[in-house]
Every structure is written in C-alpha cells, then in structure tokens.
C-alpha cells in the first residue's frame, strides 16, 4: 500500500513538453515573420550517415543477444526444472539429452557474449578518445557485464536444481542394490533363526517329526510352506526393523543431500572470492618479482662498492707507503747532500786556506822584494 502511495504521490513534476513544443511553434512563426530562414534537409541526411560500426550499436547488439538468451531460458525454465516425480512420464517433460543440449547452448552463448564484451573493452581502450567518452564506455561495458552475470545466475540456478535432482536419483538408485543385499542377508538369517526355533520346537515336540528330515527340509526349503504364528511374528518384527532402517537411511541421505548443496554453494562463493583475489595476487606477484630484482641489483651494487672500497684502500696504502718512502729518501737524500756539501765546503775551505797561506807567503816575499 505504502509503495503505491509513494509512486502516485510522486507525480509532482509537471510535464511541460507540450508547452515547449508550443513555444517552438511560436518561435517558428516569429522567425518567419522576421524573415530568418533555415535549411533543415541537409542536416537530416547528414545525421542519417551514422557509423554502423560505432561503439553504441555493437553494445546494443550484445544486449539484445543477452536478452534473447534470458527469454529463452525463462521460456524453457518450467520444463527444465519440472522433474517433479521420477516416475512420471509426462509428454512435456524434457529428456536429459535435451537438457544437456540447453546447457551446452547456454554456455556457448554466454561465452561468446563475454568475449564480445571483452573485445569491445579492448577496442574502446585502444581508441584514444576523450577521457569522458572512455569513462562512459567503461561504465557501459560494466553495466552489460553485470546484466550478463544476472542472466548467468538464472542459468546456474536452474542447473543447480537439476544437479541436485541427479544426485538425488543416484543415491536412491544406489540404495536399491543395498536393499537387495540386506534382504538376502535377512533371508539367510531367517532360516538360521527358524532352524533354531524349529530345533527347540522339535525338542519340545515328541519325536513325531523326524528331526533330520525337518532340518533338511528347513535347510533346503528356506522360507516357504507353513508359517507358524511365531514365524509370522518374527517376520513382522524383521520387517519393521527393515523399515526403520530404511527410514533412517533415507533421513541420512536427505541430510547429506542438503549438505552437498550447501557445500556446492560454498564452493561457488569461494570460487568467486578466489577469482576476485586472483588479480590482487597477480599484482602482489609482480611486486614481489620487482622487489627481488631490486634486491639482487642492490647486492650487486654493494659488491661493487666493496670492491671499489677495497681497491681504493689498496691505492691509499700504496700512496701512503710511497709517501713515506719518498719522505725517507728525501730525508736521506737531504742528509747525504748535506754531507757532500759539507765535505765539499771543507775541501774548499782547505783549498782556500792553502791558497791564502801560499799567497801569504808569496806576498811577504813580494813585499820584501819590493
């Protein structure tokens, strides 16, 4: 009720399109009166030549295809799902092969649609147009993608119901050989029990009935002929036991069914999440690879640096040693030079002294002569 109220009460906006058209007419007449002309035909023709391979027409095509698929699925949904009772043989019921066909077709269709979307996306990215158009196209493709996902969900729901029914059938069909086995076991047990009963009764009875023959009879015959009330009771009891065991089995089977469906749902959810994480993991992988390479390069650089450092050290040592040696030699050299100089100067002095002496003796000789 409230929804209805809301929708009808929200009719507050006033449609003035007619008013607008009326104003267009007034303006037209006014223009005619003033004498402004315009040609309309040229533009119309120009507009008609819209590019057929544009983005929009193709996107619209994809949408129409998806809609076709949706209609197809919805149309056949009832028949597909109506495996009401396993024993029924309605004419409208689909055979399994038809169902498989539908599944296959739907899958192929969905795959082609998603590929078409991807193609459109690649093309849109390659064509370097303005940023706004790019964003617009990206969002349009997202919208189409989510529409496709919605339709795929329809399909997968149908499929899930079908799979569940198949699992159903399989379990039940497996149950019947077990049932047979169990019944046989019971049958073997029955004669044994009856044998003991018979033995008791025969013990009780007067040996009118020959025991051996009775036992023989019972061993061979099995569960035929006269059934005394006790045996009937026993049979009934065993029947009841069987029935209760079957019931518990059925319950267990149902539980397992439910769990399998839950598990499948969980798996779906997990698969979705895993797919979501795929892209993140990819990016992490890239980062890690980049990081390892960086670390390797860093190691190399460090090694080089160490080498350079070592080499540098060697050179420094060498330089120091050379310096010290040069210092030493310079020093010794200077010392030696000093010695030489000293000795030379001494010699010179001696020489001088001798000269002086000689001159001195010379002079006085000369002086005395003069």
């Amino acid at each position: 009720m409230t929804c209805q109220f809301v929708y009808s009460a929200a009719d507050m906006a006033v449609d003035i399109t007619l008013l607008f058209k009326a104003s267009v007419k007034t303006v037209k007449t006014r223009n005619k009166a003033i004498g402004i002309g315009f040609d309309s035909t040229k533009d119309d023709i120009f507009k008609r030549n819209r590019p057929k391979n544009g983005f929009s027409p193709r996107a619209k095509e994809v949408i129409t295809n998806i809609t076709k698929l949706k209609d197809f699925l919805l149309q056949h949904r009832k028949d597909y799902v109506s495996a009401g009772s396993l024993i029924s043989s309605d004419l409208t019921r689909m055979t399994d092969s038809e169902r498989d066909q539908i599944d296959q077709d739907a899958q192929i269709f969905m795959r082609t649609c998603s590929e078409a979307i991807k193609q459109l996306r690649n093309e849109a990215e390659k064509k370097v147009t303005s940023a706004q158009i790019k964003e617009h196209r990206g969002v349009v493709l997202d919208l189409i993608g989510s529409y496709l996902k919605g339709v795929c969900k329809l399909y997968s729901e149908q499929r899930a119901i079908r799979v569940k029914r198949m699992v159903d059938k399989k379990r039940l069909s497996r149950l019947t050989p077990e049932h047979h086995k169990r019944v046989e076991k019971q049958r073997e047990v029955e004669p044994a029990e009856e044998k003991t009963v018979k033995e008791e009764s025969s013990e009780k009875n007067v040996s009118d009935v020959p025991d051996n023959t009775a036992e023989h009879l019972w061993e061979e015959g099995g569960v035929e002929d006269e059934l005394s009330p006790e045996e009937i009771q026993m049979f009934e009891q065993e029947n009841q036991k069987l029935v209760s065991e079957m019931n518990s089995l059925v319950d267990e089977v149902r539980q397992i069914e439910g769990k399998v469906v839950e598990i499948s749902r969980l798996q779906e959810i997990f698969a979705e999440k895993v797919l979501q994480q795929e892209s993140e993991i990819n990016s992490i992988h890239q980062l890690v690879v980049g990081a390892t390479e960086n670390v390797k390069e860093g190691n190399e650089d460090i090694r080089e640096a160490i080498k350079n450092n070592a080499g540098f050290r060697v050179w420094i040592l060498f330089f120091l040693v050379m310096c010290s040696f040069s210092l030493l030699f310079l020093d010794c050299g200077s010392q030696a030079q000093k010695d030489i100089l000293l000795s030379r100067s001494k010699k010179k002095e001696k020489k001088k002294g001798d000269d002086v002496l000689s001159s001195h003796t010379h002079h006085p000789a000369q002086a005395s002569v003069a």
């Binding site: 009720m1 409230t2 209805q4 109220f5 809301v6 929708y7 009808s8 009460a9 929200a10 009719d11 507050m12 906006a13 006033v14 449609d15 003035i16 399109t17 008013l19 607008f20 104003s23 267009v24 007034t26 303006v27 037209k28 223009n31 315009f38 309309s40 119309d44 819209r50 544009g54 983005f55 929009s56 027409p57 949408i63 809609t67 949706k70 147009t129 303005s130 940023a131 706004q132 158009i133 964003e135 617009h136 969002v139 349009v140 919208l143 189409i144 989510s146 529409y147 919605g150 339709v151 329809l154 539980q255 397992i256 769990k259 839950e262 598990i263 749902r265 969980l266 959810i269 997990f270």
Partner: protein, 632 residues
C-alpha cells in the same frame, strides 16, 4: 505523510532519472545508459540522496557539471537537472548547437518562465535539434533533504539568504523581495513534493510574516488554477491517511539567538560544530601522528578524508542524537561484537582444517558446514560493519581531541546552567580569563549566551570588566554590539525567551571511565547527562500543535490557502490538535534545534515533525555573521 520527505524526493529523482517514467521493479532488466548533467544546485540536491553506486545501477554512466568542458558523446541520451537561470539556459542552448548528445531530457529544479523556454526553443530550432529535445519537465525539487525529517533550502549561494542578509541594517526593499521570493519558491516546491496544503501560522512583524504572506498567496493561486493545480488529482486522494492537513510554523531566528551559539553535546551536533560537516559529509585531515616529525624532516602529508554519514548507516541513525559518552560506549560495544564474530569465523577455519581428514565424522561436519555457510554469507555484512566502525572511531577520536583541547564540556555545562538560570560553579569572569579553556570564540559564545539569557542587563562596570577580559583573550567584540541592539529590540517585544528547566548532572568523573575501560581516553572529559528540556522553538511548536493558549503564541497569524475568501488572517477554525507539523526557521537553524524537535516528536506518540531552515550554520559561521552585522 506516510512516506518521509526524503523518500519522496528520492522517488521523484529516480523517476526523473528513468526518463520520467516510473521505475520498474524488474531485477534483470536491460541496461539503458544515460548521462546526467547537473549544476551545483542539482548536485547538492542529489548528493545526500543518491550515491554514485546507485546512480550507476540506474544506468548513469557519467555525471558532469553543466559548466564544465564536456565532450560530445553521440548516441547517448542526456538528462539535465538544472536551475532555470540565465547562464544555465545559455549553456544548454550552446550544447544544443554543438550537438553533444543524442537526445535531451531537460528537468528544471523549479519552474521555468515562458520566455526562457522560448530561448531554448529558438536555439533548438537554429541547430535543428527540436526533435532531440524529448522531454521538458518542471521538477519542483528546489530544496535539499538531509535527513528523513530535515531539509534546508540551499547550500550554494546561502549568503544571499543568510541571517546576515535578512537582518542587515542597510537592506534594500528590492533585495528583501528577492530573498523572500527565493525562500517562498523553495517552500512551495517543498509542499508540492510533500503533496499537502498546510495551515500556516507565523509570528507578527518580522521576516517570517512576509514569507508566510507570500507563500499563502502562491499556494492559493495555484489551488485556484484548477487546470494546472499541482495539488489535485490522485495525489491527494490516494492514501492521505491523515485527514488533517499539516501545520506549518514559520519562526524567525530572532526569537531564539542563544541556541545557535550553544555548545552541543549530542553526536551529530558536535560533529557539525567541531568538524567540517556539510550535506552529510565529514571532511577531515588525517595522518598527523602523535609526535611531530623531527625538525628538518619533510612534514608528513596530511590526507583529506571524506566520510559520508548516510541513511544506510544504522549505527549513525541510531546514535546521531545521543549524548556523547553514550556514543563512545556504543562504538566500543560494536567493536566487541565485531571482534567476537571475527573470532568465530577464525575458529571455524581451524575446525574445518581438522575435520577435512576425517571422512567418517559427517555429523560434526554438518554443524560446521552450516556455520561456515552462514559465516561466509555474512562476510560482506561484516566487512561493511567494520568499515563503519572504523569511520565512527576516527570521527569520535577527532571530536574527542577537540573537546579535550577546548574543554567543551565545561562550556556546555555552564551554558546549560545559564540557560536554565541556575547558578554557575565558577564565575563567568574566571572562565573567560582562564587561558587554556577554549578558543576566544568559545569564550565569546559563552558570554553572548550569558548576555542573552540574563534577566536584566549587567551593569556598566561589570560589562566593562567582561569586555576587557574578552579583549585580553583575543575575542572580537562586534557580535556583542549587534546582540545589544537585538536585545533592546526584543525587549520591546515579548518577554525574553525562557529556556526551560534543564538540569545537568555530572556523573562521577572517573567511575564511568573506569567502568567502560574505553579505548577513548575520556579522562578530563566529564560525563554529562542531559535532562530533557525544550528549546523556545520547540515550545512554540508544542503550543501551536496542541492548540494550547500561551501568551507567546496567541497572537500568531493564521493563514489557510484553501479558504475561498482570501482574508489576511483569521481566527483559527480548527480546534483539534495537529498530528503533523513542519517547522521552518527563517534566518538559519542548526542541529541542536533539529535534535530537540526530533526528541519532542518521539516523546509524543504519533506526531511527526519536519524541521527546515533557510540555511544551516554552526556557531562559527553564525558568529561571523553577527560580527559583520555588529560592525555596521
């Protein structure tokens, strides 16, 4: 008014975005894509109501501003949502000439005039695009709905209709007329969207009276025009569950000047007061660590984060009116519940790890399977909850920082006491001269509230003392001049507003803190408990709704647009109490009043109150306007 205003406006917007046809409920409908173009007014209207994701879901691929550079996107219909102003019309004509889009759906926020429509028509003719203009609509959505029961008029050019603009001394008649027209136009759109014709009551002799008169006239004209009336048709008859019309109370800001200056203690009001909060969006800077970076290092870049506080956030809706310590506690509780859920999920993980090897234990597996299913399906909800908890934690931390540095709890307590006329613990002068209690603005606010609520004006010497203290603290005294004028003016009018009795009980300072063991360090912040009290405007509303007789409201004018004989005002015919009311404050309002009104509506069973104001300001902005007024 079965649906709230917000819902109605949202529905109207969605219809508009669906090419003006009612949206279908089909979940897998074919996507139709379109481009939305709005101007700033349109943006303000749409942004509190529809998120970008919702727009995308409706098929809107791009949303652009009208006056931005737009590239031609052929083959796409464009929906315009603009105000019919000159520049917008020119731009639309330009777009038509440039053939930007395939088809045009023009929606005008308020009614467009005939001449402007002809301008568009001539442009369309000139560029031969008449066939492309598919629909033209008047949307009548010229107001912004912020909450289910709160709306404001505009956010963009609010200086034009601000308190300052209305009350300034040198206002011209033409300016006043223009302002009144803007306000009346928006109110008219509001009532059209609401779908009801109200009964109008307003006080005498101020801006509110002018607005009421004009609105009455406009509504009456529209109702008379039976052909084009917006209020007839199945709008009114379809499920108007209340047979009464709503009461529309127009109040003027001058009736209560203290509330906008008041320091608040409820969550939403605090955020509005302390942080940057507009249109349901909080903008905060974050990233500054507790210790400042060492000198010489590059300062850490502060990121600006925006948070949207929306209707979908259940915690926000529940607690936005709660007093602050309660909110902190609730956030703690939410965090604990979330952690418990997270632990359960983790525990399931380990159990599953063990059980995977054991084929036989099917029975145990069933339980865990069921639990696992429920856990996995509840994962998105949990993630969303975590995001909201983080959001509120950040916001709360920021608010607490402010409270602590400015000692807002002290101010709140004192102001409450002033407004209820009980005695203060510390004298006013002490608080003002206290150097580390709040910014100068806080002190100014406290003093102004004191001045407003004082029974008789303080003596000249006292006043000088206060003035000196305020000047020492660094306050600007021009608001005080204006308040003096205002007080003198209102003294001639009714009795000074009585703020009712409100008791403020400070709880044990440390006991509560210790009990909650809160991660929010609340030491030094008193846990104050609010007692219910009614602000003046709430009391006016109460009197009018319940038809009580009170000297304050007895001489309020009465307008009924539906009356055939149009007299100015008449005696109220209706003696029954009203069930719905719309309160509108001309000159501005704030969240404290809104909260008070919402609490009042909650306390009365079955009454709905919508609060609206011409603009929404916090105390800082109000003081700025007052100082502008006081400087004249």
């Amino acid at each position: 008014m079965a649906a709230s205003v917000r819902e109605k406006q949202t529905v109207a917007l969605k219809r508009m975005l669906n090419f003006n046809a009612p949206p279908l409920k089909n979940t897998t409908a074919e996507p139709v894509w379109k481009v939305l173009i709005f101007d700033r007014f349109g943006q303000d209207i749409i942004s509190p109501l529809l998120s970008v994701k919702e727009l995308r879901d409706m098929g809107i691929t791009l949303h652009l501003l009208l006056h931005s550079d737009r590239d031609p996107i052929p083959d796409v219909p464009a929906i315009y949502f603009v105000m019919p102003t000159e520049e917008n019309i020119d731009r639309i004509c330009q777009d038509l000439r440039n053939q930007l889009y395939e088809s045009y759906y023009l929606n005008f926020i308020s009614a467009i005039s005939r001449s402007k429509l002809e301008d568009i028509a001539s442009a369309a003719l000139a560029s031969n695009a008449v066939s492309q203009v598919t629909k033209v609509f008047d949307q009548y959505l010229n107001f912004i709905t912020l909450e289910d029961d709160m709306f404001i008029l505009c956010h963009q050019n609010k200086e034009l209709i601000s308190y300052h603009a209305i009350n300034k001394a040198d206002i011209l008649d033409t300016d006043m007329e223009a302002i009144m027209d803007t306000i009346v136009d928006s109110l008219f759109c509001f009532f059209v969207t609401l779908g009801a014709v109200p009964i109008i009551r307003c006080p005498r002799g101020n801006a509110a009276e002018m607005v009421a008169g004009k609105l009455n006239k406009k509504l009456r004209e529209n109702l008379r025009d039976a052909r084009n009336s917006l209020f007839t048709g199945d709008n009114m008859t379809a499920g108007q569950f209340s047979f009464q019309r709503p009461l529309f109370v127009l109040a003027d800001r001058n009736v209560d000047m203290a509330t906008p200056l008041h320091h608040s203690w409820t969550y939403q009001a605090l955020i509005h007061d302390v942080l940057d909060y507009h249109l349901n969006r909080v903008v905060m800077e974050e990233g500054a660590g507790p210790d400042s970076p060492p000198a010489g290092a590059r300062p850490k870049k502060k990121n600006r984060k925006t948070f949207d506080l929306t209707a979908a956030d259940r915690f926000w809706q529940k607690h936005k009116g709660s007093p602050f310590p309660e909110v902190a506690e609730s956030v703690q509780e939410e965090v604990e519940t979330y952690k418990a859920q997270e632990d359960e999920v983790k525990r399931l993980k380990t159990i599953m790890g063990l059980e995977g090897e054991d084929d036989g234990a099917i029975s145990m597996l069933s339980d865990t399977t069921a639990k696992l299913t429920s856990a996995v399906s509840s994962l998105p909800d949990m993630l969303e909850k975590k995001r909201l908890i983080d959001l509120h934690t950040t916001v709360l931390t920021a608010v607490i920082d402010h409270i602590r540095t400015r000692k807002l709890d002290v101010y709140f307590e004192n102001e409450e006491k002033l407004m209820s006329k009980s005695t203060l613990d510390k004298s006013l002068l002490d608080i003002i001269t206290d150097p580390d209690a709040g910014t100068p603005e806080d002190k100014m606010r406290l003093f102004l509230i004191f001045y407003i609520t004082a029974q008789q004006a303080p003596s000249e010497s006292d006043l000088d003392q206060y003035k000196k203290a305020l000047l020492d603290a660094g306050c600007d005294l021009s608001p005080l001049n204006y308040i003096k004028q205002w007080k003198a003016f209102t003294k001639m009018a009714a009795t000074p507003a009585n703020y009712g009795n409100s008791g403020v009980k400070p709880m044990g300072l440390l006991s509560r803190v210790m009990n909650t063991g809160s991660q929010f360090v609340m030491e030094g912040v008193k846990n104050l408990v609010l007692k219910q009290h009614n602000l003046p405007i709430t009391r006016i509303l109460d009197n009018l709704m319940e038809m009580k007789s009170h000297p304050e409201t007895d001489d309020y004018l009465y307008f009924d647009p539906k009356m055939l004989r149009g007299s100015e005002s008449s005696i109220p015919r209706n003696k029954n109490p009203f069930q719905e009311a719309v309160v509108f404050v001309v000159g501005g309002g704030n969240y404290i009043e809104y909260q008070n009104m919402a609490d009042y509506a909650k306390s009365k069973q079955g009454k709905k109150v919508i609060y609206g104001c011409s603009e929404l300001f916090n105390a800082t902005q109000f003081i700025k306007q007052l100082s502008q007024l006081g400087q004249k």
